[in-house]
Amino acid sequence: MDAVTGWWDDYFWGSMVVLQVFIFSLLLMVLFGLIGAAAKLSDNRVAQKISAAYTVIFRGTPEILVILLLYFGSAIFLTSVAQVFNPEIKFVDVPPMWAGTFAIALIVGSYATETFRGAFLGVKPGSIEAARALGMSNLQTFVFIRIPEMWRLALPAFGNHMLSLIKDTALISIIGLNETFFVAKQAIGTTGEPFTMYIVVGAIYLGFSTIITLTVMGLEKFGLRTTEGAR
């Protein structure tokens, strides 16, 4: 383990990049999941079809392919857009971090769509009737009745989605994101100890997964505190 000594700070900054990607992709993932679930539950047939296509496409293709497509694809797309305004521009570089964040949020968002849809369907009709009887508006019902009831139902599966998200950040290193994996590659170049360096990466990810698992367990306990008798 002596070889790792000089690399701890690099690993630390690498982990911060992982954390940053995780947080931004988590926000985007929830957004995509909610939009997808809303579209699936709506009466609009076009919205239903689009949402169904979204889940089929992103659940059926390998993650690495989506990341590569979004990274290289967006670079080409932006280049052609930029060339319309300024033909001098040869190539527009897309930061791998944003292409990657967007890609993994899209992928995991397609799984979250199904989770959220199921959770919204799990809200008891009686609760909604009660809200109507109290004279709540649709928005009030959504914020005070549907959301508090639905997030508890969604939480176990949502915890798994967060784990997929943190593990998928490792794939962004393929398109050159400067995270722990990338640090390991540099460290191997100078020390020649690939096993040690990759084990450190594994340990960092294991730490992140453990934190997420424990957080979800705590939240589940918190969510069930009022329904203890019912279960």
Binding site: L65, L163, E193, G202
Partner: protein
């Protein structure tokens, strides 16, 4: 931004040449992973701490780390040690294909054993009591009652994991293996036409996913043929 159709027509046969490797990786890892999963499951439900602990550690570690890290540790990491290079496993661990199979099997084994455990825990107690009343031993109850029912209960989740495994085989392209994704990345590096190549490859993978779903749907129907609707 115009789709080059002739390029797609050119490259699809090239990519399909790699489908064999994808299938080999998938079938071998699914088979070895299932064996490992059953072993891990038996270790976990054995009730003996010295068997159940190693199984739980394996599951925890392999579910908590990205599969890419696992592949890299096995392919790039293991050759760091002299004793691995001199061991009998070296012919397997020297080849990227062997490494990919080992990594994918260890990974999918951890996930599948959790799925199987869910199936075993879902078996109705009444059935096992009926078995006891008939005088079946614990082993016979496990083989004749728990196994068929648990297999049926676990199948929907298993089919999802099978699809994840199929998608994970594409990661073998990161350790120089020329599967469909590996070939696609080479073509893109030569032509720089990511849209055409990657989208057509995505469609190939989606067809595979669809096929797996249909196949498992049939198996599920067959296994639940005597279940009351």
């Amino acid at each position: 931004m115009i789709f080059d159709l002739s390029l797609i027509a050119d490259s699809i046969p090239k990519m399909l040449a790699g489908i064999g490797i994808t299938f080999q990786l998938m079938a071998l890892s699914a088979f070895l992973g299932l064996i490992l999963a059953v072993i891990l499951l038996l270790m976990r439900i054995s009730g003996k701490w010295y068997l159940s602990w190693p199984a739980q550690v394996h599951i925890y570690v392999f579910r908590g780390t990205p599969i890419l890290v696992q592949i890299f540790i096995i392919y790039y990491g293991f050759p760091q040690f002299e004793f691995i290079r001199e061991s009998i496993f070296w012919p397997i661990l020297r080849e990227p294909f062997g490494c990919a199979v080992v990594a994918l099997s260890l990974n999918t084994g951890a996930y599948v054993s959790e799925i199987l455990r869910g199936g075993v825990l879902g078996v109705d107690r009444g059935v096992l009591e009926a078995g006891s009343a008939l005088g079946l031993s614990a082993r016979h109850k496990f083989i004749y009652l728990t196994t068929p029912i648990a297999a049926r209960l676990a199948l929907p989740a298993y089919s999802n994991d099978f699809i994840s495994l199929m998608k994970a085989t594409s990661l073998a392209s990161t350790i120089t293996l020329m599967d469909m994704t590996g070939i696609a990345r080479t073509i893109v590096a030569q032509t720089f036409a990511p849209y055409e190549i990657f989208i057509s490859l995505a469609i190939i993978y989606m067809v595979l996913t669809w096929g797996i779903q249909k196949t498992f749907g049939r198996i599920e129907k067959y296994l639940s043929r005597y279940v009351k609707p």
